[in-house]
Amino acid sequence: MNEELRDLYQDVIIEHSKRPRNNRALEAPANSAQGYNPLCGDQVKIYVRMDDGKVADVAFEGAGCAISTASASVMTETLKGMSADEAEALFTSFHDLVTGAAGPDDEDLGKLAVFGGVSEFPARVKCATLCWHTLRAAIAGQEDPVTTE
């Protein structure tokens, strides 16, 4: 198989896309926001419950392609216990990773590092970042749907 493809579709990503974690709704009281990628029609809804300024629980519904589903799944696993500022900082590092602005070793990304292969596929960056943009809106309590375009 093509090496870049292998980097993109790492086992962890395929596995999360097939068995996503936290793929459910959260009961109120929780913030939620809707994200939409008009390019491919994918939709994701992110739920987040903040407690004492930290992420107490986070979950998602929807998504679509393997990259966007796995991204949402790994994101929800990573975020618990973080403050909004820490989540924002992690998003910045993740964004740098998938756009090729930073290498996978540049930051302490933990499991998120598996998305490093996305940087070779500019058409897929939005698949990986949609859930993060939507998370940011959910934390902020933003009503309007987030779109990638």
Binding site: M1, N2, L5, L8, Y9, C40, C65, I67, A123
Partner: protein, 419 residues
């Protein structure tokens, strides 16, 4: 071949030689990610032959100037080339008169012209426009906009599980409030060829005019607007091996005569004072402003290219290629073709079990296979089949079995990646 040769002895070679045609298209001969390009995204836009590329370069290098206004030589040459292209379109779709051929920016623009200049004045509260479930957004949204403005409604003729129009249901929708039928000739998402003649006859029996969206029909079928008796026919040059930014609206002369202009500006008027303006006659009335002159010349060159092909042979070749592709894809476990109409042209829209089309598109691309993944600007079709998207391979006469074999291999590779 001698006159005495029997049918069986005749060489099968005809005026259509797929490999020779392939050589005319420079873009096809390149490697993508280390694989020979298999360009199977023709429904989105087709490649251009050398003949079109060279004619555009020749025109721009020698004859270009603005049209319809110059006393000088270049303006006259450019006007002759532009109006000459109109004559080619007349012949190509067998229109009755050059006044019936309006150059537009493309199918979308042609449909918006009809929405604005034909539908707006005739639509009243409660009137209806009939479309089908398989329309491209460009044959839905302009009608929605004009219906909202006029208090009219859109009625939708359903399709069956094979992606075929339910023609009896369509006929039942026709009623005295129906002011227009707007229907796709060949579906870009499913490949379905609609029974447009029957639909047009049924509509005309109720006095209802019909617009056909011919964007996908023109590159695959020979269209005769008089034989169809269609009232409006819209198509784009870029899907028929010509340039982008130019297309055609055919309209029956009497209808076009009765319609107010679409846009105001230069070229569409005869006399302007601040008190009153006199509109130009057809077709200038609908061509305000400086048009896409080079694009129209390129469209003319694309028509020249298409007209030297043997279309009996082309359609037989395309049908054979589609059958070959259909058979191969049906043999792959987990692959399901969406759109299995009896009458179908050159589209293989499919799903792979458990793998999202966006991922399929990426992996196919790395195998040198260019396809489109998504809703194909036909979201109601996706809703009809309760799917978010499909992967679509769409063929042109320059594709061959190697392209289909590459698609087959790439799909198998995709399944492997996800196993």
């Amino acid at each position: 071949m001698t006159a005495s040769a029997t049918a069986a002895e005749r060489p099968t070679v005809t005026a259509f030689d797929p490999e020779a045609v392939r050589r005319d298209f420079p873009a096809l001969h390149q490697e993508i990610h280390g694989h020979p390009l298999a360009f199977l995204d023709n429904a989105a836009s087709s490649q251009r032959p050398r003949q079109v590329i060279e004619e555009i370069a020749r025109f721009d290098s020698n004859d270009y100037a603005n049209i319809h206004r110059g006393v000088h030589e270049l303006s006259q040459r450019a006007t002759a080339a532009y109006e000459g292209a109109r004559d080619k379109v007349v012949r190509f779709i067998n229109a009755n008169d050059r006044k019936e051929i309006i150059f537009t920016r493309g199918t979308t623009d042609s449909i918006n012209l009809v929405a604005s200049s034909f539908a707006r004045p005739v639509l009243n509260l409660g009137d209806e426009i009939i479309v089908t479930t398989m329309e491209h957004h460009s044959n839905i949204v302009p009608w929605q906009m004009i219906c909202r403005e006029r208090g009219a409604v859109i009625r939708v003729a359903p399709i069956n599980d094979r992606g075929e129009l339910e023609i009896e249901e369509f006929e039942k929708l026709l009623n005295p409030r129906t002011k227009l039928v707007a229907m796709v000739h060949v579906s870009n998402a499913l490949g379905t060829i609609n029974p447009v003649k029957r639909a047009i006859d049924a509509a005309h029996a109720k006095g209802v005019p019909v617009l056909l969206d011919g964007a996908q029909a023109i590159p695959h079928l020979r269209v005769d607007v008089q034989d169809l008796d269609v009232d409006f026919y819209a198509f784009s040059a870029h899907k028929m091996f010509g340039p982008t930014g130019v297309g055609v609206l055919y309209g029956k002369q009497a209808l076009l005569e009765s319609m107010p202009p679409y846009q105001g500006g230069g070229d569409m008027i005869s006399v302007v004072t601040f008190e009153k303006t006199f509109y130009n006659g057809l077709p200038a009335k609908f061509e305000a402003g400086t048009p896409n002159i080079t694009g129209v010349v390129g469209l003319g060159a694309a028509i020249d290219y298409l007209e030297q092909l043997d279309w009996g042979a082309v359609t037989a070749y395309e049908a054979d290629l589609l059958d070959y592709g259909t058979e191969l894809l049906e043999k792959i476990p987990g692959v399901k073709i969406i759109g299995t109409a009896e009458e179908k042209a050159s589209v293989l829209s499919f799903l792979i079990d458990g793998i999202h089309p966006h991922d399929v598109g990426t992996i196919l691309d790395r195998n040198g296979v260019a396809v489109r993944a998504g809703h194909h600007c036909a979201q109601p079709v996706m809703q009809r089949f309760s799917i978010p998207a499909t992967t679509r391979a769409s063929l042109a006469f320059y594709n061959n079995r190697d392209d289909i074999d590459a698609l087959d291999r790439a799909i198998r590779n995709t399944i492997e990646v996800f196993s």
